[in-house]
Amino acid sequence: MKKLILAAAAAILLSGAAYADVIKIGVVGPFSGPFAIQGKNFKAGIDAYIATHGNKVGNDTIEVLYRDVPQADPAQSKALAQELVVKEGVQYLAGFYFTPDAMAVTPLLQQANVPLVVMNAATSAIVTKSPYVVRTSFTTWQTSAPMAKIARERGVEKAITVVSDYGPGVDAENAFKTTFEKEGGKVVESIRMPLSTNDFSPIMQRVRNSGAQAVFAFLPSGPTTLGFVKAYNENGLKEAGVQFLAPGDLTQESDLPALGDAALGILTTFHYAIAHDSPENRAFVEAARKAIGNPAELSFPSVGAYDGMHVIYKMIEATGGKQDAKKAVDAVKGLAWESPRGPVSIDPETRHITQNIYLREVAKGSDGAYYNKEIKTFEKQPDPGLAAAK
């Protein structure tokens, strides 16, 4: 105890400002394991924000602590969040790539007096679990529903949905189906396939036999998307003119070099493309690429993390560095700013981010690199998922 007081005294003397505090932010994400690349993107987005905005808010210094949950593991996630709160004394919890990990933490927030800023997990219901949850990423409903409108605009009458059989996949299927049928189209078949599927050839044969003009697909970002896109080409669906539609998880930038020519022409709707053309985004991409080391690894979770830090900085400003979760969350309700992805705001009702959703096409740049080329914008999209759940 004596040591602690001495250390604290030394810290105060050294910093020179009597009221300066260290404000800790605990970030939980997959930093090892099969999804390590997404955790790396969290860290890159956070580092980029600190690099461009400094590590101080007022007199307070920001310190970020990282905790690793390699795969969806709610119990582990909760234990780590609890430890961050009681042992490390963090004032803010952030990160969370998987929905169950975020859900597990929500019961803690009220008692711990800590806001949670979700930087990725994309199931609509998370924000309803606690009034202290703010989300700066997207929901699967938000990114999938506009695709149904695109399909109708392009004259697709009959579509087939193919999704991985787990929460987000089912969300994507419902989002597309609901919107598509509301717009007067018909979903002829809905296929749910196990997450462990390696060979997609039989699925593509079914798509072909269904007579649909377009296939709407959702798979988690990562290795399986490669096999899926290749199977689409190799089974002659591309030649047959069956249009490939998907939310942008399928063509995340870090997978594009591997997908290569096979992905050319795929249409996706998403909230963010690294190729987005704006001064804010150019500055962000430069800083984030420096932070992540290998520029090819940069992907969408980085922008969720970057904007999440923006929200946290605003919360710290509003509370003057004092721990007050309610005040912090109230301060960012309705907050609007220019994000690297375009204009965004926090919906005061749902505490979810309202943002533009872009229609993109995979294209090859003059330098031979593949990128998501934005060709159409749906402005200020809220999350339709919550309304649908009611």
């Binding site: 060979d199 490669l226 002659g236 070099p257």
Partner: protein, 287 residues
Amino acid sequence: MQVFFSIGVDALAYGMVLFIISIGLSVTMGLMRVVNLAHGAFAMIGGYIASYAARDLGLPYGFAIILAVIGTIIIAIPLERFLYRRIYGAPELTQVLMTIGITFCVIGLANYVFGPTLKTIPLPAELQGPVNLGFRTIAAHKLFAIGCGVVVALGLWFLIERTSFGVKLRASVDNTAMAASLGVRTRIVYAASFALAVGLAAFGGVIGAELLPVEPYYALRYMVTFLVVVSVGGAGSIPGALIACLLLGAIDTTGRYLVPEYGEFFFYLAVIAIVWVFPRGLLGRAK
């Protein structure tokens, strides 16, 4: 009828890819009696070497395959000398612990050296794109994989059943002490068959990379699949492994075509049913 043929072609291709990757494991588990959970790690190392050779150095595909097989064997030699030699004949659980440890290390190192992104192995122009079979199209590389599978199966069968090396290998496995006293240098035989198994893993990793893409978690992601096909076939039996791969490939493909929602149930219930009927694997030898 067309559906039947269509499923058949996919099943054959998938089964053959499984066969090429897992037959090496059948050699280590069945003949050398080592539960080598690091088998997938060696397949992955092969994939990385081939990817580096073909994509980054621009070497031709065939050359990349050879480089991958040789490179993986070179990496595996010190592992055999210092680690595997300690667990020949050890209890299964000890072998599991050691080989899982090796797998973790390989994953960590691959992540560090090559990064977490997917690595592709560019195919030559002849193997790219679809081939029209009349009733449907199929990827050219799948036909290539089927061909490779047939060659590997025949070659291995010949090596083990018809050459003096095969005789020595079987002798060393059945009774190491007796074989050694008859003048068989069992250590060298073991090292050679380990190299063979690792080389096959690397070869399979490269050929199968179109279906099972190369990334750091390859080594764990497909480990269960390899273990299942080898055990269902009966470890150590080459025809057994071939039949198991084709059968399970067919079950898996049919399941995913007809009832994708229950694909996982379909596959594992079939596995239980097969093992129920053949408790030692399809063509496993009685102990």
